[in-house]
Amino acid sequence: MRVGLFIPCYIDAFFPAVGIATLELLERLGVDVIYPLDQTCCGQLMANSGSQKDAAGAEALFVENFKDFDHIVTPSGSCAYHVRDHLDAIPQTPEAQKVRSNTYELVEFLHDVLRVEAFPWAEFPHKVGLHNSCSTLRKLRTAKASEIDEPFFSKPLDLLSKVRGIQFVTPSRPDECCGFGGTFSIFEEPVSAKMGYDKVADHHAAGAEYIVSADMSCLMHQKGCAERVGLDIRFIHIAQILNGDRA
């Protein structure tokens, strides 16, 4: 199985460790992973601001970089969602359609495609609060959202439960948005920051030592909020825990 690895721009620049953990984890699981060197971004940044014409170049480049892969995997729920549901600033060629339907967020790829049963190398003896980003929760639907009346399921929790020593804590509003929201964090800064403060305080009050998520952008925002108010809580991407990072 040849997998194209998509590392979103903010992970490339600010959180290379998350990209490395994703790559190493997939390799440990026997996947042939290739990182196309000319990749940049999926276009979400511009598209979420309504600027379809500014998104088109990045989207076309994305298709060009990933058109030859059976699967495209990314450690970012919002980017996976953009590619799959919103990569429409460009003509919908067969190549574009193929790329869109073959793109997976890491958790769903591990859970649904590889069906990983165990992470024998993983141990994380800490109390963690799981943050499901809105993209994974309500769009990719990797877990049950609190609004919907249906049986409980959670793909990230299924995976994390296979990690030795891990303990989970639950905040009072587990799936309230943290307020990142892409450019929302800039143009609606007052509300964004307030949502972030409330989110990290909720996890802290529940006793979380770490907040873990499949979306590093949410964590980047939450980390910025927690550091500013001096809250003792740490942040880690789910790929890092599953790859065996201890802390």
Partner: protein, 458 residues
């Protein structure tokens, strides 16, 4: 016309800490009660689907159902009026009132009359208009529009209400006992029911097959408004039509559970015909609805039954308050309706959202609210209504991210190479980010350069 600055208004709202925290808690509590009520009905999700289907069907044949409603209502001896827009609505109401020399109108809560700005129109013509819903009355006395479509004064603490009542209706200054305040309002409003020559209500549902309409309230004030004066005027948006009485069984079960987390409103009043010696006038109002019905991506918003569940669950709304939207309709549903009234004035509103989609998940008629918000952003960009800074940032970002070389130059060296990007772009990003948050530290190496060092293949 000036754009509404939601972010600025939100900033002031958040600065009033006690108010914001109460507002957030109160509305979140409604959301939790809604969840509990929904869990109590095994077929909840089926009901939502059914409600959505009934509404979509009705909207697809709206003119037929409206004509059926009109015919039945006339057979019931009601007068039926058609209003193309807010101005026609207000004029029709004024003529009905002035021909009968009405000096005082008591009314129950109606977002439609807010939308039409009816109260000031009538007041300028010497007709006294009294809101009789408690929250709406508080807002009227404080000269503010409602901040929420179901709980209009939810942004106020009881101390605020005490201050307003002391200033306007002779309440004892400093007394913020809720029972005292409610009783004071009741005592001062009741005489108006007896004095008023006309009463006005809105409608939650209008049933085509019977020509009747239904008003759901918790205070009983709508029943007093409709039944004490001889003249009853009901203003009804044309999207309120449902085909049959049996469909009420779906909507009534969803409405109050979604809105307040209660199984049903205290009063579910059915109006069909004028009472003996009285008159019933129904004003069917378009005011942009037909145009909205013709919009490919946005007509679904007409399914709305005005329950407010999307507002209660919205993390942005709870932290910015309804008044920050500067429009009749606030919160998620407001974001997708308001731009149809004035795209420039409301062009910032679709950006007052994280696109978290909780609104879509609670909507009892399954409006795809977050997808419509996303679509509105495209319309706003296409019509050149993005603010200059945002437009330029997107243009630069689009250019850099479409070109691997520019991209690498931009993120190489110690993270963000400031010299490669226009200064304004950098500062417009970093300043708002850093105001209340730490800026992430750029590590020495990008993922890409690590990959080339460790994994490069011949």
């Amino acid at each position: 016309m000036k754009r509404i600055d939601h972010a600025e208004a939100a900033s002031e709202f958040i600065a009033a800490k006690a108010h914001q925290e109460f507002h957030d808690r109160r509305l979140w509590d409604l959301r939790l009660k809604r969840d509990r009520e929904a869990r109590g009905i095994p077929e909840w999700e089926e009901l939502r689907t059914l409600a959505s289907q009934i509404k979509e069907h009705t909207l697809s044949r709206l003119s037929d159902y409206l004509e059926e409603f009109e015919a039945r209502a006339k057979e019931n001896s009601a007068h039926v009026h058609w209003a193309r827009d807010a101005a026609e609505h207000n004029q029709i109401v004024y003529e009905i009132l002035s021909m009968r020399r009405v000096k005082t109108l008591v009314k129950s809560k109606s977002m439609l009359t807010e939308e039409c700005d009816m109260r000031p129109f009538l007041e300028r013509r010497d007709i006294e208009v009294i809101e009789t819903d408690l929250g709406e009355r508080i807002q009227q006395l404080d000269d503010e529009p409602p901040s929420h479509i179901v709980v209009p004064a939810v942004h106020k603490l009881r101390g605020d209400v005490s201050t307003v009542f002391a200033r306007t209706i002779g309440a004892e200054p400093g007394n913020d006992d809720v029972h005292y305040l409610a009783e004071t309002q009741r005592r001062t409003t009741r005489p108006y029911f007896l004095r008023a020559e006309a009463g006005m209500t809105g409608a939650n549902f209008a049933v085509a097959e019977t020509g009747s309409f239904v008003v759901c309230t918790n205070e009983g004030n709508a029943d007093l408004s409709a039944n004490v004066p001889k003249l009853h005027i009901a203003s009804i948006g044309i999207e309120k039509i449902i085909p049959r009485t049996e469909h009420l069984g779906v909507f009534i079960r969803l409405l109050s559970r979604s809105a307040l987390g209660s199984p049903i409103t205290q009063y579910t009043s059915h109006f069909r015909a004028p009472r003996d010696g009285g008159e019933l006038h129904i004003v069917l109002v378009d005011n942009g609805r037909s145009e909205r019905l013709g919009m490919r991506d946005f007509w679904y918003s007409l399914k709305c039954i005005r329950c407010g569940a999307c507002m209660n669950t919205c993390p942005v709304y709870r932290r910015s308050g309804g008044l920050s939207y500067g429009a009749t309709y606030s919160g998620p549903i407001g974001i997708i309706i308001d731009p149809t009234f004035n795209i420039r004035k409301y062009s910032n509103l679709p950006f007052a959202s994280t696109l978290n989609a909780s609104c879509t998940n609670v909507c009892p008629v399954k409006i795809n609210i977050h997808e419509q918000i996303y679509k509105w952003r495209q319309i706003i960009a296409e019509r050149n209504q993005l603010p200059f800074v945002k437009k330029e940032m997107m243009r630069v970002a689009g250019k850099v991210l479409a070109d691997p070389r520019l991209y690498r130059a931009a993120i190489s060296a110690a993270g963000l190479a400031i010299e490669h990007l226009p200064r304004f772009a950098i500062y417009n990003w970093l300043n708002p980010w850093g105001r209340q948050r730490e800026i992430p530290e750029a590590p020495g190496q990008t993922f890409r350069s690590w990959y080339i060092e460790r994994r490069s293949r011949p």
